[in-house]
Each structure stands twice: as C-alpha cells, then as structure tokens.
C-alpha cells in the first residue's frame, strides 16, 4: 500500500513541477500579499515589545556600567575605610559630624558626576547620575539631573529623573520606598545621605515639584532636598510619581563611605 503510493508520487512529480503551477485570480494574489503583510506586522510588533521591554534594559545597563567605570576612574576613593565592626543598620546612622557639606559647583555638573545607592532597590543598586534629562541621558544612562536644580548636598532641591520601565528602568521600585529609607549620593567630594520622606503623585505639568522648595517656587530654601521623578503608573505616563528625601548627613570622600553602603561602593568601584 505504502509502496504504491510512493510510486505514484514519484511518477506524478515531473509533471507537476513546472507548467501546472496553479493560476491565481487577482483577488487571491492580493489576499495572499495582504495576509503575509499582516503576519509580518504582527511579528514586527512582537519584536518591538521584546526590544522595548527587555533589550533596552540590557543596553542601558551596559552603558551605565561604562559610565560608572568612567566616574570611578576619575575619583580616588579612600584606600581602606575605617571599617567599623558594628553594623549600624537603619536605626543607628553614622553620627559623625563633618561640618558643612562640600558641594559641587553648578559648572561641575556635567557628564556623569555622581552615583546613587538605594539599598531599598536592591543590594547592588548603584546608578550613575548624569547631567541633563533629555532622552539621550535617560534612555542610555539611567538617572538624569534636572539642569539648574541644586548639586548634591546643597541647600535647595536636587532633582533627578529616571525611567520606571524600559531603558534601564532605574526607578522601577520607587513605590517601594518606606519613610526612613536612606538614599546615598556620591560625588567626587563625598557621600550625602538623604532620608526618604514621602511620595506624591502629580500630573506631568507640575514643574513646581522640582522647585528649590518643592511645590512652593516663591519660598526661600532652607532644607537640602532630593527629589526623584518617574512616570506613573508603572506601565504608563499619565502621571508622575515624585519621591522626596531630606538630607541627613554627609561624609567627605576621604572619610570613606557610610558603613551601610561600604560594600556597594566597593562593588561599584571594583567592577570598574
């Protein structure tokens, strides 16, 4: 049975190959081309979703690592921090007083000028801070510093923007911050410890949240504020989520990093 079928197939093949290609009506041809185009569009859209949600993060991660490497190549860390044996934890921050914080001049706020450590966002969370909030910065290097806002440690408001999703999604976990969480900034001058206070969800046109005194542009700043902005909800952009923190302390670079993030700093600098 099987044999006879095979034979028949072999016999019929030479006849069928060339001349008897089925003629299609114009409608069938148009329908086929349209169908193939639609399938192609579907595949391309899926590819785009994969690229946007997955590949941009990997791409941005590589560029952020390079930016960190660049930053740490210009910064000479203290050879070996004093290494206090008692791990303070969140309740007992370092109480050493180093006086008025050293602050970068506005003119020094170019390129990647700092690093952010947020233990709440993960053990290894260390991201470069780069001047500017254009897509060239945010899409490639993670956190961008709003031009004209304060420098780390200065009286006033240092405002940083970062993506909630895609392109590194540096502020994906912004909603998990709990009042009292520490956010550490590092520049070539030292380490600035900020304490997270609250989040606020606003409409995208509320530029007053990055004013020197957030939401009160006319007021004279007295506090040292850190403001993070990202989009909200997580996979949308109808609103912005704003996270405010207040500076608690600072340490000069030679004093070594705050003990709570000594490991992270070493890791961030070591991977350089």
């Amino acid at each position: 049975m099987a044999r006879s079928t095979l034979d028949a197939a072999v016999e019929s093949r030479p006849q069928r190959t060339r001349p008897t290609r089925r003629r299609r009506t114009p409608f069938q041809m148009v329908a086929q081309i349209l169908g193939e185009l639609l399938i192609t569009v579907g595949i391309v859209l899926l590819l785009f979703v994969g690229w946007e949600l997955w590949w941009t993060n990997i791409d941005s991660g590589i560029k952020q690592d390079q930016a960190l490497e660049q930053f740490f190549s210009d910064v000479t860390l203290a050879p070996e921090p004093p290494a206090p044996s008692t791990d303070g934890g969140e309740d007992a921050p370092a109480v050493e007083d180093f006086g008025e914080p050293a602050v970068l001049a506005q003119s020094a706020l170019t390129g990647t000028f700092g690093v952010v450590y947020v233990p709440r966002f993960g053990e290894n969370y260390s991201r470069p801070i780069t001047a500017g909030v254009g897509t060239d910065v945010l899409d490639n290097l993670g956190l961008g510093h709003y031009p004209g806002t304060a420098a780390p440690g200065a009286v006033g408001n240092i405002a940083l923007a970062g993506h909630r999703q895609t392109h590194g999604q540096v502020l994906d976990q912004i909603h998990t911050l709990v009042p009292g969480d520490r956010i550490y900034l590092q520049t070539r001058d030292g380490y600035y410890t900020y304490v997270f206070r609250n989040t606020e969800i606003v409409l995208p046109d509320r530029v007053d949240v990055i004013a020197p005194v957030p939401t009160d542009p006319a007021a004279e700043p007295l506090d040292r504020i850190l403001t993070l902005t990202s989009c909200n909800p997580r996979f949308g952009a109808q609103e912005r989520i704003i996270a405010y923190s207040v500076m608690e302390s600072w340490r000069p670079l030679d004093a070594g990093p705050p003990p709570e993030i000594a490991e992270q700093v070493a890791r961030a600098a070591g991977q350089a």
């Binding site: 086929q32 193939e36 590819l47 785009f48 690229w51 946007e52 254009g134 709003y146």
Partner: protein
Amino acid sequence: MYGSIFRALPGPLWMRIVLSVVLVLAAVAVLLVFVFPWISQFSPLTDSTIGSP
C-alpha cells in the same frame, strides 16, 4: 509575496534557504538599530520628567 522572493533567489535549495535567513536577519537588524529607537521616542513608557524637557 515571500514565496516569490524565495523563488527569485538564485542557486540550489540550500543556498536559497541560507540567503533567505540572511535577508530575515538583515531586516531584523535594520529594525533594531534604526526603526525601533525611532519609534521608541513616541512610547509613553519613557516620559519620566516633569514639564517639557
């Protein structure tokens, strides 16, 4: 459409398969390198700044 492209490729079957894979990869590369970054600027996911940057 794709059938006629496949038939228009030169060479024996294995060569046409190789050529069509190369064509598909080239199309994907063009999408990844040029098209998607351009579309991405219209993506609402990437608006994370306050005001108009």
